[in-house]
């Protein structure tokens, strides 16, 4: 981390701590949202049946909102 980039980077060659990974969540989500829709969950896949059964008709748990990250 440095003063020019306050978001902890997910680095190569050394681990990222849990705290640093959590700190960067919102920024990573916001960056990605600039170039693609927020949610890009596949409408279906080979796992569809088992996932919808497990998640009450959905393919997974609801995503956390960006502002809550």
């Amino acid at each position: 981390m440095n003063s020019g980039n306050p978001v902890p980077i997910i680095p190569k060659g050394r681990p990222i701590s849990w705290e640093d990974w959590l700190k960067g969540r919102r920024a990573r989500r916001e960056t990605g949202n600039r170039v693609a829709p927020e949610i890009i969950r596949r409408p279906s896949s080979s796992s569809d049946r088992r996932l919808r059964k497990l998640f009450g008709g959905e393919r997974g748990l609801p995503f956390k909102k960006t502002e809550e990250l």
Partner: protein
């Protein structure tokens, strides 16, 4: 891990409502239990992309591959997943309200190391972003256009260009050129496009 530690972790994972955290905590627990038997796992596919990008791309299951040993007998898989109270098998289990797939040996052509995230039950290995990027770019156009794959690649490129995930762009290029992928022009075009959209310089602009 002691049985009571496993139970405590499982209770936490079961109660976790954030799908990304749920996946990551589960990956950490599964990795820890396997590591005690000297078996190393790595998170691959959509789950790994989700951990790098927060891309709201959770596919609903957690995919992990073997790093070492390259093969694991069915009895050992069932015993280890049994420690987690898992149902099913021998490649897919239901644990703590999630599906976990433990696939075969990791397929990687990258020379870069796996990334590591220090999670609550211990380290989680992630397949490198270069492998993920080139794989998604290939899937985005072959065997036919696949928009979710392209969108995932765009997010991965964006976080890397923004200095939030360290990407070895030369390595990504090398992988994309390999006969196993042959996707370099598509990769370069996508990276250049995303860089332009973000107002950043592209590592592939000459």
């Amino acid at each position: 891990m002691k049985p009571e530690e496993i139970q405590k972790a499982l209770a936490d994972i079961t109660a976790e409502a954030d799908p990304t955290l749920k996946h990551l905590k589960l990956a950490s627990l599964v990795s820890a239990v396997f590591r005690e038997r000297s078996i190393e796992l790595v998170v691959v596919g959509g789950s790994a992309i989700e951990f790098y990008t927060e891309g709201a791309y959770v596919s609903g299951d957690l995919d992990m591959c073997l790093i070492s040993p390259a093969r694991l007998d069915i009895r050992t898989r069932q015993e280890l997943m049994g420690q987690l109270g898992a149902k099913g098998g021998p490649r897919t289990w239901q644990v703590a309200g999630q599906y976990v797939d433990i696939l075969g040996e990791i397929e990687t052509l990258a020379r870069t190391p796996f990334n590591e995230l220090q999670a609550p039950c211990g380290p989680v290995r992630l397949v490198g972003p270069e492998d993920l990027l080139v794989e998604r770019v290939l899937v985005s156009v072959y065997p036919q256009r696949d928009e979710p794959a392209e969108l995932c690649a765009r997010k991965l490129i964006a976080v890397a260009l923004s200095g939030q995930v360290e990407m070895n762009w030369q390595e990504a290029r090398r992988l994309a050129e390999r006969p196993e992928y042959r996707i370099l022009p598509v990769l370069e075009e996508l990276v250049n496009t995303v860089a332009h959209e973000l107002g950043k310089s592209s590592p592939y602009h000459s």
